[in-house]
């Protein structure tokens, strides 16, 4: 299983899976932080965006994630001031430039993004920006991997660990996983050659009966990670339980604002996000996220479920496995048949 959606896309886009010999199949993981953000956070973001005087800032990917009734783009089309930012620092800049408005940054991401989002809070506090806050739904990769390994249907023989997550975090925390679940873990980059090499190293371990952590992406990843980034991340955030959309509640699997930064918590300012039980439907994205099923196993794939009208989270984000399949494999054929 490649954990990261970026790798999933590279695999599907370049056809790496088609180049692999029979018997070796790549299982796509839950590696899209946008995908796994609970619907209630999306709904909260939409609710906040709809308030007068609020600017809701979000990464572009988040805008088309369906809430329980429409997405942030639809909220924008109803008049909400929703703005795409390229960097969390842009959201801080908006708060600085428009002091009469409440600027709320929808902070999602894995460990890769957490330091940058944390820095936004540091800068806002330093500048005393009382009109800035963050709606935080950060998730952490290792607890997600553990959850997949502990699931009853688990069929994962090895992991390509997410290279950019490890750029920040290093890979020490994967060593106990490799050891206790007896799975090889190869920290892998994003070029086709990286992925091929990561797969190769994984197979090499499996053939040798090893279950270790190896670092294919050594040009960007150090064992100890990025200490400066981790320090900022730990100053601003603390580990909290999180629900993963399509997967469920996982203890200690996310980040929330630490007490010192609680003043920037949009949930304190605009009310807490209340999680409810997820409703059932025909979408199998939970199983897709856990690598138990493939997008093409889904009866809705490409017909009732497309990137414009996604039924599930894995079709929403362009990094989601269903979106990757739709885009690079099934699109025109299915679409041609439909029209």
């Amino acid at each position: 299983m490649e954990v990261c959606g970026g790798q999933t896309h590279a695999i599907v886009r370049f056809g790496i899976d088609e180049l692999l010999p029979d018997g070796l199949s790549l299982v796509h993981g839950p590696g899209c932080p946008v995908c796994v953000t609970p619907v209630e956070y999306v709904d909260k973001a939409i609710e906040i965006a709809g308030r007068p005087g609020v600017v809701l800032c979000s990464f572009g990917d988040m805008l088309r994630v369906p809430g329980s009734a429409g997405d942030l783009l639809a909220a924008k089309s109803r008049g909400a001031d929703v703005r795409v930012v390229y960097s969390p620092a842009d959201a801080v800049a908006i708060a600085r430039a428009e002091p009469e408005r409440e600027v709320v940054f929808f902070a999602v991401g894995f460990e890769t993004t957490a330091p940058a989002n944390a820095m936004a809070a540091v800068l806002a506090r330093r500048e005393g920006l009382g009109n800035f806050s963050m709606l935080v739904s950060h998730v952490l990769v290792p607890p997600g991997m553990r959850a997949i390994l502990e699931a009853p249907g688990n069929r994962i023989d090895g992991f390509l660990a997410a290279g950019h997550v490890c750029t920040v975090m290093g890979f020490e925390e994967y060593e106990p996983i490799a050891a206790s679940y007896r799975v090889p873990v190869v920290v892998t980059g994003f070029e086709p050659v990286d992925i091929l090499e990561g797969v190769y190293w994984c197979v090499r371990q499996l053939e040798a009966g090893r279950a270790e952590v190896e670092n294919q992406y050594a040009r960007a990843v150090r064992r100890e990670g990025n200490r400066a980034a981790m320090a900022t991340m730990r100053e601003v955030f603390r580990v909290v339980p999180r629900r993963w959309r399509g997967i469920g509640d996982i203890a200690d699997s996310g980040l929330g604002l630490a007490e010192a930064y609680a003043g920037f918590d949009a949930e304190r300012r605009f009310g807490p996000v209340l999680l409810e039980a997820e409703a059932a439907g025909e979408c199998i994205s939970g199983a897709v996220l856990r690598g138990e099923r493939r997008p093409t196993d889904c009866p809705a794939f490409g017909t009732r479920c497309t990137p414009e009208h996604p039924l599930g989270v894995t079709m929403v984000s362009s990094e989601g496995a269903c979106a990757a399949y739709y885009r690079y494999r099934g699109a025109a054929a299915v679409a041609g048949g439909r029209r």
Binding site: A74, A147, A151, G286, G312
Partner: protein, 349 residues
Amino acid sequence: MSGPEFPMSCPLPTGDGETVQMAHGGGGRAMARLLDTVIRPAFDDAELDRRHDGAVVEVGGPAAFTTDSYVVRPLFFPGGDIGTLAVYGTVNDLAMCGARPLYLSVGLILEEGLPLDTLRRAVASMRDAARAAGVRLVTGDTKVVDRGKADGLFVNTAGIGRVVAPAPVGPAAVRSGDAVILSGDIGRHGMAVMAARENLGFETVIESDCAPVAAPVLTLLEAGVAVHCLRDLTRGGLASAAVEIAETAGLALAFDEAAVPVRDDVAAACELLGLDPLHVANEGRFLAIVDPADVDRAVAILRDHPVSAGAVAIGEVRDGPAGRVTCRGPLGVDRVVDMLSGEQLPRIC
């Protein structure tokens, strides 16, 4: 860690399919679907333009070519809507060129959040109006802009017609002594829209005069009436049209205020708002400036068409001063009629 539950489903978004989204203008799937399901069904000539960059048409002679954009608020008003306006307005401009309207292009600018149903209604109006006016909508374009960057729906139409007038029609052909014919009562469109827009609380409904006027114009031309100039009385009303013609022709124009038909309700609404009916917009009225020898015949021909049944000769063209338009009032004194100055605003004093 706690054992996570693994529901085999993810939430069903309801989506927001019933309003225009930015994606509808993005050049991708959503846009293709909007065009296929909402826009193209209104075009008579889907085969001409389907998924191509333009239409191929035959004119067969000198062509008249014109364009107008339509930005009316509200989009739907008594007697018409932006769709009928966009078709009839351009059809009428072609008629004013002495041409038989043939083909129209349609450019839509949609504001994000516009209800698709509003769009459907407007597009259906365009289709119906095109049929009524005997023109074909052959090519189009759709753009979507961010919410707050437009006003629901703007429509541009451009039109091509075949020139049927035997001699050039326009201010340059106007001569001193020509008769000035008005095709009917004035002021209805402007007051209909203002009453609908400004929340004036009028219980009475004034209906726009919005209508295609090509048919009577073509009959005039076919009958050999020496038509020197035609002008529809849209923005700026009768006054602006008359002044524009007089200025461009370098002649004076005089008419009799008592001869200009204004319906009672329109007159009352103008009085309440301090407006002059001569400045109020029309969408189905025009001036025809004809050889004085033809005036009675021209009026009779116009009266044969329902859309110009109220035609009357109201005045004449005179030698200089160039651009001077005068109007004889009830006390027999001439006053100068000028274009509207600035925007038309309701007055209290």
